[in-house]
Symmetry: C2
Subunit: 147 residues, 2 copies
DNA sequence: CGCAAATATTTCGCATGCGAACTATTATCT
DNA sequence: AGATAATAGTTCGCATGCGAAATATTTGCG
């Protein structure tokens, strides 16, 4: 049945997503980090003093989820969180010294983690990207039309 | 940088996965169900008296996660959970009358939910499947070699 | 200016999701 | 048979993940 086929696509997505997440989790755990903390480290290094909502946008997560992740990183001393001068509702997030040092320490781990994935031919990467965009578009269409 | 590219693939996967999940969540919520409960209903309808670990295998989740999901469905009266006769460690899961009825009620919702996705050309579906397999394989290779 | 609407973030309740530890039962080995 | 290992599920602690509600601040309208 058609329904079955779509379900299989969904499950295949979840599987790949989970495999990806576990790979990153494993790599990150070598530095006592989680997968998302490693991703956030990267974003903060490239965008110092970023706002929480902009960070959430970049990592494709909701504000509330991002808030929790950042909170744990602040508690761990990796991130400095300060009120903005101009807008006292907003927060700016920046890597602490400790966070900066940790980012540098993860260099080798990150490269090693990526190694296996780099074997995916460029051709397939482009093709994958093309289809993902299409799928996303279809899924979002449904969301719109429901609202 | 290459690292960047891989990260983008990862994020794109998470995005599609989340969009998928939200689509199903929205559809399921019309019947006071969650996305996974809808999936489990399907599996139980097709495989009555299935064991928990076999269900976990089918939905690609860990035993502990599956146990929690089933537990909530039992509490909601959708699933009957009984000890096996032959092996008193194992449990068999079967849809209750209520679960069966609910499954039938979701028919229209399920078809409607799938509709937009069916617009993805068969060609793309096959291509996607091919690449996903490849990616999964690469990711699993890394896991092996780490162990 | 003063109040309502909009905005930024946090908090809350709930549902995944995992691995590790635990319980109960069954299989295996001597 | 009796100790030991293996297996099936559940429970626990933790980290995502979301939307809704709450809080604080700023903006905009009359």
């Amino acid at each position: 049945m058609q329904e079955q086929r779509i379900l299989e696509i969904f499950q295949s997505y979840r599987e790949v997503h989970q495999a990806f997440f576990q790979l990153m989790t494993k790599a990150a755990s070598k530095h006592k980090l989680t997968a998302l903390q490693l991703i956030v480290l990267r974003v903060l290094r490239e965008h110092p003093e970023i706002r929480l909502s902009d960070l959430a946008e970049k990592v494709k997560l909701g504000n509330s989820t991002t808030s929790g992740i950042v909170d744990r990183m602040v508690k761990a001393g990796l991130v400095d969180r300060e009120r903005t001068e101009t807008d006292r509702r907003a927060m700016t997030l920046t890597l602490s010294e400790k966070g900066m040092a940790l980012w540098r320490e993860t260099e080798a781990t990150r490269l090693h983690m990526m190694r296996s994935l780099l074997e995916l031919p460029e051709e397939d990467q482009r093709e994958l990207d093309r289809i993902q965009q299409k799928v996303l578009h279809l899924l979002r269409n449904y969301r719109e039309e429901e609202a």
